[in-house]
C-alpha cells in the first residue's frame, strides 16, 4: 500500500526540500486563487479525479527513475547522465506536491493511497548492462513524450489561469523527461554503431514498449463530458487516443529511427507484440 500526504511539513527536512524546489524549479509557479464557482460542478469533479490520479501516478513513478539510476551505474553511464536521472526522480515528487495542491483547490484532498506493490524495473535476462538500461530508458521517454503531447493539447483547451500555471510548470519538466532518451542515444551513438545485434534486439523490444505504453495510457470508449471540461484542460478519451497514436507514429518513432533503431516498424507491429501476451501491465 502506497500512502501519500502531498503537503510538506515544517520540519528541517521539509525546509531543505523547499530549498531544493526553489533552486530547481524551471518556471515560476505562483498560484492565485482557483474560482470553482465559475465552472460546471461535473467538470470540477472530473478535473479533481484527474489531478488526484496524476498526483499518485507522479509520486509512484519516481521509483522508475530512481531504479534506473542503479542500472545507469551498472552500465557505466556518465556521471552527468545519472545526476539528470535523479533530478527527474525528484521532479516526480515535486509534481506530486503540485498535483496535490491542485486537488485541494478543486475541493479534494492531498492525501491518497493506492493498493499497489511497486514493481521492480526489468533486468531483461540475457542483455548486457548497456542494452538493459537503454531498453528501459526508451520506455520512460516514450511515456513522457506522450505526457508532453497531452499537456500541450490540454493547454490548447485550458482557459483557467490557475490550472494553466500549474500545467506549464509540469510541462517544463516533462520536456526534459521526454527528451532524455534522445539525448542518451546521442551520447551512445558510437556504442550503438558498434553493436548491430543490440540495435536489432532493442528494435524488437520497442514493439513491446509501444504496446505497453498504449495499454497504460489509452482507454477505449468516449466517456462523459462536462460543460467546462475544455476550460479545465480535460482532454476527451477520443482525442487522447489520437494524441497518443499520432505522437508515437509521427514524432517518437521517426525520432528513434534516426539512431538506427527500427522504431517505426516496431510501432506498426505493436499489435503483434501485444497479442503474444508480453505486456507487463
Amino acid at each position: 500500500m502506497i500512502e501519500l500526504d502531498a503537503a510538506p511539513g515544517r520540519t528541517p527536512l521539509a525546509n531543505e526540500y523547499r530549498e531544493i524546489v526553489r533552486r530547481t524549479a524551471r518556471v515560476g509557479c505562483a498560484l492565485g486563487p482557483f474560482d470553482s464557482s465559475a465552472y460546471d460542478p461535473r467538470s470540477i469533479r472530473r478535473a479533481r479525479a484527474h489531478w488526484r490520479t496524476r498526483m499518485m501516478d507522479e509520486y509512484v513513478s519516481t521509483a522508475v527513475y530512481s531504479s534506473l539510476s542503479v542500472q545507469l551505474l551498472e552500465a557505466n553511464a556518465s556521471l552527468d547522465t545519472n545526476v539528470v536521472m535523479l533530478r527527474m526522480a525528484q521532479d516526480e515528487f515535486r509534481h506530486a506536491e503540485l498535483c496535490g495542491e491542485v486537488a485541494r483547490a478543486l475541493g479534494g484532498s492531498r492525501r491518497a493511497r493506492r493498493d499497489v506493490a511497486l514493481r521492480p524495473i526489468p533486468r531483461h535476462a540475457g542483455c548486457s548492462a548497456q542494452e538493459r538500461v537503454l531498453r528501459n530508458v526508451l520506455v520512460t521517454s516514450i511515456s513522457e513524450m506522450y505526457s508532453v503531447a497531452y499537456f500541450v493539447a490540454s493547454l490548447d483547451r485550458m482557459t483557467d489561469p490557475y490550472l494553466r500555471t500549474v500545467t506549464r510548470a509540469l510541462l517544463a519538466d516533462e520536456i526534459l523527461h521526454g527528451r532524455f532518451a534522445f539525448h542518451f542515444l546521442e551520447n551512445w551513438t558510437d556504442w550503438l554503431a558498434a553493436h548491430a545485434d543490440a540495435r536489432a534486439s532493442i528494435s524488437g523490444y520497442l514493439g513491446l514498449a509501444f504496446a505497453a505504453c498504449e495499454s497504460e495510457f489509452v482507454r477505449e470508449g468516449r466517456g462523459d463530458r462536462g460543460d467546462d471540461d475544455d476550460a479545465l484542460g480535460l482532454v476527451s478519451a477520443d482525442d487522447a487516443r489520437e494524441i497518443f497514436r499520432e505522437t508515437m507514429a509521427h514524432a517518437v518513432a521517426p525520432g528513434l529511427d534516426r539512431f538506427g533503431l527500427e522504431a517505426t516498424r516496431a510501432w506498426n507491429a505493436r499489435g503483434h507484440a501485444s497479442k503474444l501476451g508480453i505486456c507487463a501491465t
Partner: protein, 88 residues
Amino acid sequence: MNKAHYLRFVQALALATSACSAGTPDATQSGEDPAASVAPSPTEPRADLVAPPPPLAHEDAADASADASDEAALPHTSGPIVPPESVA
C-alpha cells in the same frame, strides 16, 4: 483539436536534440508555442510554496466514493510507466 500544434511540438523535441544540445533555440522556446512560458526563471519566487494558499472550506468534503470511482476509471496520466519485461 489543434493536432498540428502538439504534433509540431513533440516532433521538434524528438528530432532536434542535437540542436538543443548545442544550445540552439528550438521550437520549445519560441513563438506562441506553449513552451514559450517554459523559459527558465530561477529567481521567480515560488509563492505557492513559500506561503501556501489557505485551505478551502470544502477540502476533504468531496464525495470520497464517487471520487474513487472516477479515479479508478482513468488511465495512467503522467510519469514514466514501469517498462515491460522482455520475452525469453
